[in-house]
């Protein structure tokens, strides 16, 4: 058994921000992540972010990722990659499979003073005939391939879903040299921001609102995609089918929080539709119903990289405070500032409902015994 003061699960924006805050204050921090590279989904965000200058608007996600990694290194955060956290036990013991898939894989149990869960989110699936065929994939999966690994998953893409992910990834697929043959949306209108939608329209991508995918056809990979128009009760209208030639279908139908570890360890959960599903209950310190276990980022409700960063900061500050590294008054000021920035991110027609959702989660937090 190894001892560590703080173990962070997930090296995305929330996990890294938490680790940086805690390490900056003097804490000993280990971050474990399943993937080959740290940064979570930041390194595939090659577009400029929105928000105020306090949130580095106009900065590409990839740049924010690089800055976070530099800071993490500066403050001595230890990062284990290709390392899956496979269990949490009583008294905050974390089981890590280090060196996943390599010959030198080992199982290490760590006794932590504090645990911060920042496990992110996964993409929702849309089922239609042929949805399991190779070539049908999450929009985020395609984005990872083109922007991180720099390989195209195919040449002709049908995008399903016109929220921000669908719009941004469509544009990025074109930047990568793919042909986006259709953007298909079941609702009567495009879901995401106008600024992203305009880029797609200007590029001449055919947009099919009130349409859905009926079938993806092919033997060992997608060759054709059949779409059809929907009626007012979202049912396909017979006779409106169109056959599109495509070798990739990308699904952009929202995300859901990854909360397996939280559930496994019996943290109290609550369902929240706005946030994409079941999330662990937490207080204003991002501490869960089990003392010493914190949660941050998309695992507490799907939002965006900037909110994940701020929630990570809160968790990192609170964990460092409870270990005695930050005085109460100083910690309070910093947490208040962070909450103000979070409030700023949860404003406007798109953000407001997330503010209400977060308030609901904070309000249902039970009194800690």
């Amino acid at each position: 058994m190894v001892n560590k003061e703080i173990v962070v699960v997930g090296a995305g924006p929330a996990g890294l921000a938490a680790a940086i805050e805690a390490a900056k204050a003097g804490g000993e921090v280990l971050v474990a992540d399943l993937n080959i590279l740290p940064g979570g989904q930041l390194f595939k965000q090659i577009h400029k972010f929105f928000g105020s200058s306090a949130h580095r608007s106009g900065t590409r996600g990839i740049e924010i990722g690089r800055q976070l990694l530099a800071e993490a290194e500066k403050y001595g955060v230890e990062i284990w990659l290709n390392s899956a956290v496979i269990g949490l036990y009583d008294d905050r013991v974390v089981s890590i499979e280090k060196g996943l898939n390599s010959g030198e894989k080992e199982l290490i149990n760590i006794k932590a003073e504090k645990i911060i869960l920042a496990t992110g989110a996964s993409e929702n699936v849309v089922r239609f005939k042929g949805w399991t065929l190779p070539g049908v994939m999450g929009a985020g999966a395609a984005q990872t391939m083109i922007n991180v690994n720099r390989v195209k998953p195919g040449n002709k893409v049908v995008m399903l879903g016109s929220g921000n992910v669908g719009l941004i990834v469509s544009y990025q697929l074109m930047q990568a040299g793919c042909d986006v043959v259709a953007l298909v949306e079941a609702a009567p209108n495009i879901g995401g921001y106008g600024v992203h939608a305009s880029k797609i329209r200007r590029a001449g991508v055919p947009v099919y609102t009130r349409h859905t995918i009926i079938e993806a056809k092919g033997t060992d990979r997608v060759k054709e995609v059949i779409i059809a128009e929907l009626d007012d009760s979202w049912q396909p209208i017979a006779g409106t089918e169109k056959v599109l030639e495509a070798d990739v279908v990308t699904l952009a139908a929202g995300l859901k929080p990854i909360s397996d570890l939280a559930r496994l360890h019996d943290l109290e959960m609550v369902y929240n539709g706005v946030f994409g599903g079941w999330v662990p209950k937490h207080d204003e310190n991002m501490e869960s119903t089990q003392s010493g276990i914190y949660v941050a980022g998309d695992t507490t409700g799907v939002e965006e990289a900037n909110t994940a960063l701020e929630e990570g900061r809160l968790a990192g500050i609170a964990a460092a405070e409870s270990l005695g590294y930050i005085a109460e008054k100083d910690a309070k000021e910093r947490k208040d500032d962070t909450w103000k920035r979070l409030d700023g991110l949860r404003m406007g027609p798109f953000g407001e409902k997330r503010m209400y959702a977060k308030n609901e989660i904070l309000a249902c937090f039970p009194a800690r015994s």
């Binding site: 080959i36 994939m137 690994n149 195919g154």
Partner: protein, 109 residues
């Protein structure tokens, strides 16, 4: 057909990488050391990673971040390896996985 993105309007030209040889279903391929095995295969337009146990249906890249297991293959003799989170090393031997793979019980190879 090579599916690698040589030049990119935001990311710039492809960065130099150490190229290594891997074997995929008996055929030798050049791959970038350290990239996910899955990416090396996609670069060569290989998109089927495995066939399912019962219906023998093809599966390939779905989530790309180690969550879904659709990209599992047999890597250096070990079945059920998620190729999207497994870095390429010189001399790796990769096989399309049928069912649960070699030594995996009655539905395996």
């Amino acid at each position: 057909m090579c599916m690698r993105i040589k030049d990119h309007i935001i990311l710039g030209p492809e960065r130099a990488a150490n190229m290594v040889w891997i074997t995929v279903d008996g055929k030798e391929l050049m791959a970038k050391e350290g990239e996910p095995v899955l990416a090396s295969l996609l670069a060569e337009n290989i998109i089927v990673n495995r066939y399912t146990v019962k219906r023998k249906e093809p599966r390939g890249l779905f989530c790309g971040i180690g969550q879904c297991t659709d990209c599992a293959m047999i890597v250096d003799g070990k079945p059920n390896v998620r190729t999207c989170i497994t870095p390429v090393r010189q001399g790796m031997v990769i096989k399309t996985q049928h069912g649960v793979g070699e030594g995996g019980g009655k539905n395996g190879e």
